[in-house]
Amino acid sequence: DTAVSQTPKYLVTQMGNDKSIKCEQNLGHDTMYWYKQDSKKFLKIMFSYNNKELIINETVPNRFSPKSPDKAHLNLHINSLELGDSAVYFCASRSRGNTGELFFGEGSRLTVL
């Protein structure tokens, strides 16, 4: 069983479209994250939820809207896609009580044309 799973793995779309990426973890963790990895492989934290509550929002444009229906799921919706949104988006989770190691999904590669 995959611990942290993301769908879709690849996403190609036109500028101006709206798209969503889904993430699910079966580890029983309380905290989930979205990270963006750009073409230079820099990893930047975007959002974090703990038990469905937003705890981190790193000045991401409001075109990006995370949603956590329950603590096992964290979805990312992006409106009005721009060329600069092209990246690999990683979902991750961790147990709130632990010292911080993250479990990552395999990533969703978004290409905006």
């Binding site: 492989k41 820099f42 990893l43 934290i45 993250l102 990552f104 990533g107």
Partner: protein
């Protein structure tokens, strides 16, 4: 704010030789430090962490890291490199609920 720096974009090591990937940190208080590895087209995988205690911490795949408070460093090491160790390595630090990553170091193990 907590941060880590990885001064090398790339490290090349011959197979069988010892390897070191460097990381320095800047934190207030006690640091929680981590190393992760990323293979091509995969998510990051946790390798090891330093929280407190022994300065030498051991992790997955034969890797270890040495915490050095006086040099504010947390270098990743392995006594004998394998070609399969070739990957992108990230140092990271915990800042409350955030895990902040360095820019990554690409490790090439030459056969």
């Amino acid at each position: 704010a907590q941060s880590v720096a990885q001064p090398e974009d790339q490290v090349n090591v011959a197979e069988g030789n010892p390897l070191t990937v460097k990381c320095t940190y800047s934190v207030s208080g006690n640091p929680y430090l981590f190393w992760y590895v990323q293979y091509p087209n995969r998510g990051l995988q946790f390798l090891l962490k330093y929280i407190t205690g022994d300065n030498l911490v051991k992790g997955s795949y034969g890797f270890e890291a040495e915490f050095n408070k006086s040099q504010t460093s947390f270098h990743l090491k392995k006594p004998s490199a394998l070609v399969s160790d070739s990957a992108l390595y990230f140092c990271a630090v915990r800042d409350d609920d955030k895990i902040i990553f360095g820019k990554g170091t690409r490790l090439h193990i030459l056969p």
